[in-house]
Subunit: 133 residues, 2 copies
DNA sequence: TTGCGTGCAAAGGTTTTGCATGGCA
DNA sequence: TGCCATGCAAAACCTTTGCACGCAA
Protein backbone atom coordinates (compact mmCIF):
# COMPACT_ATOMS: atom_id res chain seq x y z
CA UNK A 1 0.00 0.00 0.00
CA UNK A 2 2.96 2.33 0.47
CA UNK A 3 3.69 5.01 2.98
CA UNK A 4 1.38 7.90 3.65
CA UNK A 5 3.34 11.03 2.94
CA UNK A 6 2.53 14.70 2.95
CA UNK A 7 2.70 14.80 -0.83
CA UNK A 8 0.37 11.88 -1.47
CA UNK A 9 -2.08 13.06 1.13
CA UNK A 10 -2.03 16.54 -0.38
CA UNK A 11 -2.67 15.29 -3.87
CA UNK A 12 -5.51 13.04 -2.81
CA UNK A 13 -7.00 15.72 -0.56
CA UNK A 14 -7.08 18.27 -3.32
CA UNK A 15 -8.50 15.87 -5.86
CA UNK A 16 -11.16 14.57 -3.50
CA UNK A 17 -12.32 18.09 -2.77
CA UNK A 18 -12.84 18.61 -6.51
CA UNK A 19 -14.51 15.36 -7.47
CA UNK A 20 -16.17 16.86 -10.55
CA UNK A 21 -13.00 18.16 -12.11
CA UNK A 22 -10.19 16.40 -13.80
CA UNK A 23 -6.65 17.63 -14.06
CA UNK A 24 -3.48 17.18 -15.99
CA UNK A 25 -0.42 16.74 -13.83
CA UNK A 26 0.55 20.35 -14.53
CA UNK A 27 -2.87 21.68 -13.61
CA UNK A 28 -2.95 19.63 -10.46
CA UNK A 29 0.31 21.11 -9.23
CA UNK A 30 -0.55 24.66 -10.27
CA UNK A 31 -4.11 24.73 -8.99
CA UNK A 32 -3.52 22.88 -5.76
CA UNK A 33 -0.60 25.08 -4.83
CA UNK A 34 1.25 22.07 -3.52
CA UNK A 35 4.98 22.10 -3.88
CA UNK A 36 5.49 18.66 -5.32
CA UNK A 37 7.74 17.50 -8.10
CA UNK A 38 6.15 16.36 -11.32
CA UNK A 39 7.76 12.98 -11.09
CA UNK A 40 6.25 12.49 -7.67
CA UNK A 41 2.82 13.36 -8.95
CA UNK A 42 3.13 10.95 -11.84
CA UNK A 43 4.25 8.22 -9.49
CA UNK A 44 1.53 8.95 -6.95
CA UNK A 45 -1.20 9.09 -9.56
CA UNK A 46 -0.06 5.83 -11.11
CA UNK A 47 -0.41 4.27 -7.70
CA UNK A 48 -3.82 5.82 -7.07
CA UNK A 49 -5.07 4.63 -10.44
CA UNK A 50 -3.88 1.15 -9.61
CA UNK A 51 -5.68 1.32 -6.29
CA UNK A 52 -8.84 2.59 -7.93
CA UNK A 53 -8.82 5.90 -6.09
CA UNK A 54 -8.27 7.94 -9.21
CA UNK A 55 -9.32 7.49 -12.81
CA UNK A 56 -7.14 8.31 -15.77
CA UNK A 57 -8.53 9.67 -19.01
CA UNK A 58 -6.52 9.79 -22.18
CA UNK A 59 -8.88 11.74 -24.45
CA UNK A 60 -6.55 11.70 -27.44
CA UNK A 61 -6.64 15.47 -27.82
CA UNK A 62 -2.89 15.65 -27.35
CA UNK A 63 -3.04 17.58 -24.09
CA UNK A 64 -1.73 14.73 -22.00
CA UNK A 65 -3.63 12.47 -19.66
CA UNK A 66 -6.17 13.77 -17.18
CA UNK A 67 -6.89 12.42 -13.75
CA UNK A 68 -10.03 12.54 -11.66
CA UNK A 69 -10.87 11.48 -8.15
CA UNK A 70 -13.13 8.47 -7.81
CA UNK A 71 -15.74 8.70 -5.09
CA UNK A 72 -16.43 5.64 -3.02
CA UNK A 73 -14.97 2.26 -3.74
CA UNK A 74 -17.89 1.00 -5.76
CA UNK A 75 -16.53 2.03 -9.12
CA UNK A 76 -15.76 -1.53 -10.02
CA UNK A 77 -19.41 -2.26 -10.39
CA UNK A 78 -20.56 0.62 -12.53
CA UNK A 79 -19.65 2.60 -15.58
CA UNK A 80 -18.61 6.15 -16.05
CA UNK A 81 -20.43 8.24 -18.58
CA UNK A 82 -18.32 11.10 -19.77
CA UNK A 83 -19.87 13.99 -21.62
CA UNK A 84 -17.87 14.93 -24.70
CA UNK A 85 -19.23 18.45 -24.52
CA UNK A 86 -18.90 19.60 -20.91
CA UNK A 87 -16.42 16.98 -19.73
CA UNK A 88 -18.38 15.99 -16.65
CA UNK A 89 -18.38 12.39 -15.56
CA UNK A 90 -21.50 10.64 -14.35
CA UNK A 91 -21.24 7.55 -12.21
CA UNK A 92 -24.01 5.26 -13.28
CA UNK A 93 -25.16 2.29 -11.30
CA UNK A 94 -27.55 0.32 -13.43
CA UNK A 95 -28.73 -3.24 -13.65
CA UNK A 96 -28.94 -3.04 -17.43
CA UNK A 97 -25.24 -2.30 -17.61
CA UNK A 98 -24.53 -5.14 -15.24
CA UNK A 99 -26.50 -7.47 -17.45
CA UNK A 100 -24.60 -6.30 -20.48
CA UNK A 101 -21.28 -6.97 -18.77
CA UNK A 102 -22.41 -10.47 -17.90
CA UNK A 103 -23.67 -11.03 -21.40
CA UNK A 104 -20.40 -9.93 -22.98
CA UNK A 105 -18.48 -12.23 -20.70
CA UNK A 106 -20.72 -15.28 -21.19
CA UNK A 107 -21.58 -14.92 -24.86
CA UNK A 108 -18.62 -13.06 -26.29
CA UNK A 109 -15.88 -14.42 -24.04
CA UNK A 110 -14.65 -11.00 -23.03
CA UNK A 111 -14.27 -9.96 -19.41
CA UNK A 112 -15.19 -6.30 -19.17
CA UNK A 113 -13.11 -4.08 -16.96
CA UNK A 114 -15.49 -1.39 -15.76
CA UNK A 115 -12.77 0.50 -13.95
CA UNK A 116 -10.87 1.10 -17.17
CA UNK A 117 -13.88 1.76 -19.34
CA UNK A 118 -15.55 5.06 -19.95
CA UNK A 119 -18.64 5.50 -22.06
CA UNK A 120 -18.59 8.69 -24.09
CA UNK A 121 -21.58 10.65 -25.25
CA UNK A 122 -23.61 13.79 -24.66
CA UNK A 123 -25.34 14.46 -21.38
CA UNK A 124 -28.91 15.67 -21.11
CA UNK A 125 -28.02 19.24 -20.25
CA UNK A 126 -25.66 19.67 -23.16
CA UNK A 127 -28.16 18.05 -25.49
CA UNK A 128 -30.78 20.56 -24.37
CA UNK A 129 -28.37 23.45 -24.81
CA UNK A 130 -27.60 22.33 -28.33
CA UNK A 131 -31.26 22.19 -29.24
CA UNK A 132 -32.06 25.59 -27.77
CA UNK A 133 -28.99 27.53 -28.78
CA UNK B 1 -9.57 15.05 -50.67
CA UNK B 2 -5.86 15.17 -51.37
CA UNK B 3 -3.63 13.37 -53.82
CA UNK B 4 -3.39 9.63 -54.05
CA UNK B 5 0.22 8.76 -53.53
CA UNK B 6 2.14 5.53 -53.33
CA UNK B 7 2.66 6.04 -49.60
CA UNK B 8 -0.97 6.69 -48.71
CA UNK B 9 -2.18 3.86 -50.87
CA UNK B 10 0.37 1.53 -49.30
CA UNK B 11 -0.63 2.44 -45.78
CA UNK B 12 -4.33 2.03 -46.44
CA UNK B 13 -3.77 -1.19 -48.39
CA UNK B 14 -1.81 -2.75 -45.59
CA UNK B 15 -4.26 -1.67 -42.91
CA UNK B 16 -7.29 -2.80 -44.86
CA UNK B 17 -5.75 -6.22 -45.35
CA UNK B 18 -5.39 -6.53 -41.57
CA UNK B 19 -8.73 -5.21 -40.39
CA UNK B 20 -8.52 -7.08 -37.08
CA UNK B 21 -5.21 -5.64 -36.01
CA UNK B 22 -4.30 -2.24 -34.83
CA UNK B 23 -0.90 -0.71 -35.09
CA UNK B 24 1.22 1.99 -33.66
CA UNK B 25 2.94 4.12 -36.26
CA UNK B 26 6.17 2.24 -35.66
CA UNK B 27 4.54 -1.15 -36.01
CA UNK B 28 2.77 -0.10 -39.15
CA UNK B 29 6.03 0.87 -40.83
CA UNK B 30 7.94 -2.16 -39.58
CA UNK B 31 5.30 -4.78 -40.29
CA UNK B 32 4.15 -3.44 -43.62
CA UNK B 33 7.69 -3.18 -44.92
CA UNK B 34 6.82 0.10 -46.57
CA UNK B 35 9.58 2.64 -46.77
CA UNK B 36 7.73 5.66 -45.49
CA UNK B 37 8.82 8.35 -43.10
CA UNK B 38 7.17 8.50 -39.70
CA UNK B 39 5.99 12.02 -40.25
CA UNK B 40 4.27 10.96 -43.42
CA UNK B 41 2.48 8.16 -41.63
CA UNK B 42 1.32 10.47 -38.88
CA UNK B 43 0.04 12.94 -41.44
CA UNK B 44 -1.65 10.26 -43.52
CA UNK B 45 -3.30 8.64 -40.50
CA UNK B 46 -4.57 11.96 -39.22
CA UNK B 47 -6.21 12.45 -42.57
CA UNK B 48 -7.65 8.93 -42.63
CA UNK B 49 -9.08 9.35 -39.14
CA UNK B 50 -10.69 12.60 -40.22
CA UNK B 51 -12.18 10.84 -43.21
CA UNK B 52 -13.44 7.98 -41.08
CA UNK B 53 -11.34 5.34 -42.81
CA UNK B 54 -9.25 4.61 -39.75
CA UNK B 55 -9.97 4.62 -36.04
CA UNK B 56 -7.55 5.90 -33.44
CA UNK B 57 -7.24 4.35 -30.00
CA UNK B 58 -5.43 6.00 -27.14
CA UNK B 59 -5.53 3.15 -24.61
CA UNK B 60 -3.50 4.90 -21.94
CA UNK B 61 -1.01 2.05 -21.69
CA UNK B 62 1.76 4.41 -22.60
CA UNK B 63 2.60 2.72 -25.88
CA UNK B 64 1.33 5.58 -27.98
CA UNK B 65 -1.79 5.74 -30.08
CA UNK B 66 -2.92 2.80 -32.14
CA UNK B 67 -4.71 2.87 -35.44
CA UNK B 68 -7.06 0.39 -37.01
CA UNK B 69 -8.76 0.17 -40.36
CA UNK B 70 -12.49 0.74 -40.28
CA UNK B 71 -14.53 -1.60 -42.43
CA UNK B 72 -17.54 -0.03 -43.98
CA UNK B 73 -19.25 2.76 -42.16
CA UNK B 74 -21.08 0.51 -39.71
CA UNK B 75 -18.98 1.32 -36.67
CA UNK B 76 -21.59 3.74 -35.46
CA UNK B 77 -23.88 0.95 -34.50
CA UNK B 78 -21.64 -1.26 -32.43
CA UNK B 79 -19.04 -1.15 -29.71
CA UNK B 80 -15.38 -1.93 -29.76
CA UNK B 81 -14.00 -4.26 -27.16
CA UNK B 82 -10.34 -3.69 -26.62
CA UNK B 83 -8.18 -6.23 -24.82
CA UNK B 84 -5.93 -4.59 -22.26
CA UNK B 85 -3.49 -7.47 -22.53
CA UNK B 86 -2.95 -8.12 -26.24
CA UNK B 87 -4.33 -4.85 -27.56
CA UNK B 88 -6.62 -6.40 -30.14
CA UNK B 89 -9.94 -4.78 -30.85
CA UNK B 90 -13.10 -6.76 -31.36
CA UNK B 91 -16.02 -5.25 -33.21
CA UNK B 92 -19.10 -6.45 -31.44
CA UNK B 93 -22.54 -6.21 -32.87
CA UNK B 94 -24.98 -7.18 -30.16
CA UNK B 95 -28.58 -6.50 -29.35
CA UNK B 96 -27.86 -6.43 -25.63
CA UNK B 97 -25.48 -3.54 -26.15
CA UNK B 98 -28.03 -1.80 -28.31
CA UNK B 99 -30.60 -2.18 -25.57
CA UNK B 100 -28.20 -0.77 -23.03
CA UNK B 101 -27.55 2.28 -25.21
CA UNK B 102 -31.28 2.86 -25.53
CA UNK B 103 -31.76 2.40 -21.82
CA UNK B 104 -29.04 4.89 -20.95
CA UNK B 105 -30.56 7.43 -23.28
CA UNK B 106 -34.15 6.97 -22.11
CA UNK B 107 -33.63 6.44 -18.38
CA UNK B 108 -30.41 8.28 -17.68
CA UNK B 109 -30.71 11.08 -20.22
CA UNK B 110 -27.32 10.42 -21.77
CA UNK B 111 -26.87 9.90 -25.50
CA UNK B 112 -24.12 7.34 -25.97
CA UNK B 113 -21.61 7.91 -28.74
CA UNK B 114 -20.54 4.42 -29.80
CA UNK B 115 -17.93 5.72 -32.22
CA UNK B 116 -15.98 7.37 -29.45
CA UNK B 117 -16.45 4.66 -26.87
CA UNK B 118 -14.26 1.65 -26.35
CA UNK B 119 -14.95 -1.01 -23.79
CA UNK B 120 -11.83 -2.33 -22.12
CA UNK B 121 -11.26 -5.72 -20.63
CA UNK B 122 -9.52 -9.05 -21.17
CA UNK B 123 -10.27 -11.24 -24.15
CA UNK B 124 -10.86 -14.98 -23.89
CA UNK B 125 -7.48 -15.97 -25.26
CA UNK B 126 -5.54 -13.79 -22.85
CA UNK B 127 -7.68 -14.96 -19.97
CA UNK B 128 -6.83 -18.55 -20.86
CA UNK B 129 -3.15 -17.74 -21.16
CA UNK B 130 -3.18 -16.14 -17.73
CA UNK B 131 -4.77 -19.19 -16.15
CA UNK B 132 -2.41 -21.65 -17.81
CA UNK B 133 0.83 -19.72 -17.61
C1' DT C 1 3.18 24.25 -63.98
C1' DT C 2 1.03 24.44 -59.50
C1' DG C 3 0.54 22.91 -55.22
C1' DC C 4 0.18 19.13 -52.21
C1' DG C 5 2.89 15.22 -50.28
C1' DT C 6 7.23 13.48 -48.63
C1' DG C 7 11.41 12.95 -45.93
C1' DC C 8 14.71 14.41 -42.87
C1' DA C 9 15.95 16.61 -38.88
C1' DA C 10 14.78 19.53 -35.21
C1' DA C 11 11.58 21.02 -31.92
C1' DG C 12 7.85 20.34 -28.59
C1' DG C 13 5.59 18.20 -24.99
C1' DT C 14 4.63 14.45 -21.82
C1' DT C 15 6.07 10.77 -19.03
C1' DT C 16 9.70 7.76 -17.11
C1' DT C 17 14.00 6.74 -14.89
C1' DG C 18 18.59 7.08 -12.11
C1' DC C 19 20.47 8.46 -8.11
C1' DA C 20 21.29 10.74 -3.87
C1' DT C 21 18.67 12.45 -0.09
C1' DG C 22 14.83 12.70 3.17
C1' DG C 23 10.94 10.79 5.72
C1' DC C 24 7.70 7.10 7.35
C1' DA C 25 7.11 3.03 10.01
C1' DT D 1 17.18 1.15 11.31
C1' DG D 2 15.36 -0.29 6.89
C1' DC D 3 12.90 0.76 3.17
C1' DC D 4 10.04 3.54 0.48
C1' DA D 5 9.14 8.18 -1.35
C1' DT D 6 10.85 12.45 -3.13
C1' DG D 7 13.24 15.76 -6.17
C1' DC D 8 16.09 17.07 -9.58
C1' DA D 9 17.86 16.43 -13.95
C1' DA D 10 18.48 13.58 -17.74
C1' DA D 11 16.56 10.44 -20.77
C1' DA D 12 13.10 8.23 -23.39
C1' DC D 13 9.15 8.61 -26.03
C1' DC D 14 5.66 10.06 -29.10
C1' DT D 15 4.10 13.50 -32.12
C1' DT D 16 4.37 17.85 -34.64
C1' DT D 17 6.61 21.20 -37.49
C1' DG D 18 9.92 23.66 -40.91
C1' DC D 19 11.93 23.40 -45.10
C1' DA D 20 13.62 21.84 -49.49
C1' DC D 21 12.59 18.59 -52.87
C1' DG D 22 9.59 15.36 -55.56
C1' DC D 23 5.49 13.90 -57.57
C1' DA D 24 0.40 13.99 -58.77
C1' DA D 25 -2.96 16.38 -61.34
Amino acid sequence: MGYSTKQRAGILDYMSSHPDSCFTVRELIAESGLSVGEATVYRALARFVEEGKVKKYVSGAGAGAMYQYVEGESCESHFHLRCLSCGRVFHTECHVIGEMVEHIEKEHGFRVDAVHTTIYGICGECEAKKENG
